[in-house]
Amino acid sequence: MSEARPNDPTLPLAIESLTVDYGERRAVDGLSLTVRPGAIYGLLGSNGAGKSSTIKSVVGLLRPRSGRIRVFGLDTIADSTLAKERIGYVPETSLLYEALTPREFLEFVAGVRRLAPAAATERMRAYAAAFRLESELEEPIAALSSGTRQKVLLIAAFLHHPQLLVLDEPLNALDPRSVRIVKDLLVRYVAVEGRAALFSTHTMGVAEELCHRIAILDRGVLRAEGTLGELRARVAQGDASLEEVFLRLTEEDEGLTAAVALLEGP
């Protein structure tokens, strides 16, 4: 694969030497990666590996200690508003204006994103129908279940047909039908020219099924990056599952049997 220039305006995402600190604790340490058009890029890692910190830096919620992030060639700090226009974001937790109803929330998002009323309405209706959300569009978000809130966030992320989807554990709390819809939608979505997705998950099966390339993070450091085939090659196991590859690369397989034995009790 040819080397991509980070400031290439057709390159969905380029992260260079990203470092994020929380006080004295380093959450991400010198991470570099590139998401190319047409790709679903998976971020895998244990709890506290730095996935969410990376994603929050991409969407402008965290200001990194050092490093640079470009979205379609736009610096996410210097050109933050322009960069955010190209991003659709689903946060890890249901960050919503709870006093609003889903329709009011989506209207606010559509206003901020300067969408035409007809297009915004048509898309809201289509997504709401797909997620069977129509009857809850006028309920206050505070009274909705976590799965329904997640659907609202997904609709808000897709509403402006962004060029880059940034999804932090997007399948959390969703029912199986909605999970299937999101997976199919993602595959079709990035197939449209120029689009891409950055996707974080704990679920190895989902990453294995969806992601074209995968980065494995461990305590803020990039342990490995590549296609599933390339990662298997790294651990010299051609038929290994992603879970086995992950555990081997993060060295979390060591002591695993002993830990389980300990839990079984004396």
């Binding site: 604790r25 937790t93 006093a99 609003l100 901020v112 994103r113 309920e139 206050p140």
Partner: protein, 548 residues
């Protein structure tokens, strides 16, 4: 598990309420920079500061009342038609103090209860193996401890100050009144807070429901209006008291003796100075004893009921979709700054704390406007009162600017992930400040026009002050944005940062007040010139390139 264990366990949810009140993580805020282990102590310190501020206000009120008690009835000699005996005067002063304390504590409770609910601190305990009685006790103790400093201020400072002014017996006799003040205000806060969660926060959107919600929210203003009412009705009350003392109005005495909080205010007055100026018959003493005991019993019942019921406030019930096919909903996106304004108004319509801020300057204008209308002393006084209403609207609208920003605390991080410039957010919220001011001003204009045939005086005054109000709003919001960016902390609510909100409002208040002062000294032209100059300086500073 006993009370001791419940007290120990209540520390954890209480700390969580402080934590969420300051950092709003549950609403999606991110951790501010700095060592994480310092967050909880900082949150505890900041909530303690806020509670200290409210406690200080209550203590100052008690001090003011004590000073009046010390001065004696001569302090109100110009207000009353008849001579007021010292004991009746004392009871009147203490009635005012109790009433204002109830209103202030109630108002505080209305700000605090939503924080308790949104923190989710109590439901976490429900899944733990704690028996029902202990869970109720923990919830009750958490609610009580949210008011700890204000309660202690009332409970300790009031008897001490009254004791110094009227003697130890009077100080001791204040205790029943003070106890009922605490019990009733906490119960009123709880009842209205529960009403809020059930009827307002859970209200569906669309249709005319927003209007219905705003109508419901008027309830939220009762304590604040009561506060204003008690202050403004003070002179009238002393006049009524003097009628009672002189025996000019039949039936007034028994009514007063049975009315809360006058009944309990009579106890220290009687203890300190003997008869109130009217001779209490046997029936009168019996009425006083029965009414006092009744109020104390009611306070006891209210306390127990609140204590047992806090746990039931919990969370909103899950939404049940409306029956039948869903209507075809339509989105009507607006440009970003208007979208922010609309979102804030919608949020406020389901969040009484914010609705209160929006409605107070408007209702204040209505109240003063109505006084203007009723005033029989002529157009000159009416004009003065009308202008005073505009002044108070300008200052109130400005004072609440920081609170409008704190709506952004809700899903603060999600908002920051949107392509929404700071300029749009600041403009949207400054527009809210100006809208409140203009609405209040127009109400005053409409009402006073009936008395003062000079609309241009008011219209000119309102228009001349407008740039200063806008400049004040922009300045406050600009400071808040820089502050939030630098510290990574959203602007807090009353429980989490009353001091900060006050400090940020001060420069805005100065900007809004300067033209009003100049109008008094140098006249209208100077006022308009300064107002425009303020806007010309502040707007580029906040919205221009150098702005946030």
């Amino acid at each position: 598990m006993g009370w001791k264990e419940a007290w120990r366990l209540s520390r954890t949810p209480l700390a969580e309420v402080s934590f969420q009140a300051v950092y709003a993580f549950r609403q999606g805020n991110l951790a501010p920079p700095g060592p994480p282990r310092e967050l909880a102590p900082k949150a505890a310190a900041r909530t303690m500061q806020s509670k200290g501020l409210i406690g200080l206000v209550l203590a100052l009120l008690a001090l003011g009342a004590a000073a009046l008690l010390r001065a004696g009835p001569n302090a109100t000699a110009t207000l009353t038609a008849y001579h007021l005996p010292p004991a009746a005067f004392d009871a009147g002063v203490l009635t005012g103090l109790y009433s204002i304390d109830v209103a202030l504590l109630w108002w505080t409770g209305l700000q605090v209860l939503p924080v308790l609910l949104s923190s989710g601190a109590l439901p976490v305990l429900e899944s733990l193996p704690i028996d029902e009685a202990t869970l109720r006790r923990i919830a009750g103790l958490v609610y009580l401890r949210l008011f700890d400093v204000p309660i202690l201020a009332i409970l300790i400072v009031t008897p001490v100050f009254v004791g110094v002014a009227l003697g130890p017996l009077a100080g001791f006799a204040v205790l029943p009144g003070v106890a009922t003040v605490i019990a009733f205000s906490l119960a009123l806060s709880f009842v209205t807070g529960r009403y809020f969660t059930r009827k307002i926060q859970g209200s569906r959107g669309g249709g005319g429901r927003s209007l219905v919600r705003w109508a419901h929210l008027l309830l939220w203003l009762v304590p604040a209006v009561a506060l204003l009412g008690f202050v403004s009705a003070g002179p009238a009350f002393f006049t009524v008291l003097s009628y009672a003392a002189s025996g000019t109005v039949r039936g007034l005495l028994p009514t007063l003796e049975a009315a809360y909080p006058f009944t309990l205010a009579m106890l220290p007055a009687l203890g300190a100075r003997g008869p109130l100026g009217w001779s209490l018959s046997g029936a009168g003493w019996l009425e006083l004893a029965v009414a006092s005991a009744g109020y104390l019993l009611l306070a006891l019942f209210a306390s127990r009921w609140v204590f047992d019921s806090v746990r039931s406030v919990g969370r909103l019930p899950a939404a049940v979709p409306a029956p039948g096919p869903a209507p075809e909903y339509v989105l009507r996106p607006q440009r970003p700054s208007v979208a922010v304004l609309t979102k804030d108004l919608r949020t406020a319509s389901r969040t009484p704390g914010y609705a209160f801020l929006l409605l107070l300057p408007i209702l204040d204008s209505v109240a003063i406007g109505l006084v203007t209308l009723a005033d029989a002393r002529g157009a000159g006084t009416a004009e003065g009162l009308g202008l005073a209403a505009v002044v108070s609207a300008a200052l109130l609208a400005t004072f609440f600017g920081p609170a409008f920003f704190s709506i952004e605390v809700l899903a603060f991080s999600y908002g920051r992930a949107l392509p929404l410039s700071d300029r749009s957010v600041i403009l949207g919220k400054a527009a809210l400040v100006v809208t409140v001011y203009l609405l209040a001003g127009l109400i005053v204009l409409g009402i006073t026009l009936l008395r003062v045939p000079a609309p241009w005086v008011f219209a000119g005054f309102i228009a001349a002050e407008l740039p200063a109000v806008l400049a004040a709003g922009l300045l406050e919001l600009g400071i808040l944005f820089r502050w939030a960016r630098a510290r990574g902390v959203p602007v807090p609510n009353l429980y989490g940062g009353a001091w900060s909100a006050l400090l940020i409002a001060l420069p805005g208040l100065a900007l809004a007040a300067a033209p009003l002062v100049l109008d008094e000294v140098y006249g209208f032209v100077a006022m308009a010139a300064v107002s425009l100059t303020e806007l010309a300086v502040v707007a580029p500073l906040i919205l221009g390139r150098r702005g946030p």
